[in-house]
Symmetry: C2
């Protein structure tokens, strides 16, 4: 006989498909879930299923939302001419946590990556250009990740937008707060050096 | 505003209650789940909920099962007079993976732990004694973990069973296969020494 009964094996298989969850972890989780009261398991399963079902993309910015347009896009206080371009909804969450940015977002849902066959038409660049057409945006802040794909995507978008007379900026590269100069890689250090500002 | 919309926040809260899943991991999982096709999420949620709902305890051995008694308890080939006592269903799984033991099991669902207020009446020792009453079991193998609680539980059960004239054995302590003598702790080494066998 198999070492796991069928319903537990099925749960393990499903859990093991999640990112960062291996078979051992999936087994530990499955046996834990089976040992929980039925109410709690119902809540867990419902939260997972409803979370997926109730969440949609905002037709304006592309962020996850339950209502369309999303609360940020509807908020008149945030229509201040600033538009922050990020790769995915998680990045919006990170920016919102910062509580410093009060403009609007545009989520690309990916970055240009020739290696993975993702070109400019596969991410929401066309939608970005459409949003910029009405002239209400004065500055586009490119906040893609500081890696090869993120940089390439930022340069590509910058080249498209600049001719429209809109200010295009890129978030700063540098040494993270609290980090140690000695252990900072050369590329970051070089970026931090180039980006130095007067004090 | 909050940095996560409500359905995602609820999913994160639920996932973060699982063992070994912190808030960061729960967020990563939640955003991954939201990005999956609805079918896959439905399968995941169903596997979790049905896994819990379809799995019960075997009224004989206490292991998880979909039918009562469980396939192992019903299997006549396994009624060979050997009974292996383990702490929880996960240990049955580990023993079954070994494919060396062909007897029956008894799951205690815990070990005696005065520190956590778990006494002999809180685990399935009474059920064990009832099973032994019919005289069909010739040897009880105590396979609780080799830690303080596991040892205490094994001694306690051994003291109860020995007067009944049933053979009581304990799984061997020793150096794990593939491990290094140099890095083995003294207690294990001492147990391995005491438990030496002729070659």
């Amino acid at each position: 006989m198999s070492d796991m009964i069928e319903p537990i094996a099925r749960m393990v298989n499903q859990l093991a498909r999640l990112p960062g969850v291996g078979r051992k972890t999936a087994q530990r989780l499955a046996y834990h879930i089976v040992s929980l009261p039925e109410d709690q398991v119902r809540e867990l399963a419902a939260a997972i299923f409803n979370g997926k079902k109730q969440v949609h993309f905002c037709s304006v910015c592309g962020n996850y939302t339950t209502e369309d347009p999303c609360p940020i896009c509807r908020d008149d206080d945030r229509k201040n001419g600033l538009l922050c371009v990020v790769r995915d909804p998680r990045d919006v969450m990170a920016m919102e946590r910062m509580q410093d940015f009060r403009g609007q977002y545009h989520v690309l849902h990916g970055v240009i990556s020739p290696m993975q066959g993702i070109g400019p038409d596969d991410i929401r660049i066309r939608e970005l250009m459409q949003r910029l057409a009405d002239g209400s945006i004065e500055e586009v802040i490119l906040a893609t990740n500081p890696d090869v794909e993120g940089e390439a995507t930022a340069s590509y978008i910058a080249r498209l937008i600049k001719p429209m007379g809109i200010r295009v900026t890129r978030i700063a590269h540098g040494i993270p707060v609290g980090a140690d100069l000695e252990y900072t890689d050369e590329v970051t250090l070089s970026k931090a050096f180039q980006g130095r500002s007067e004090i």
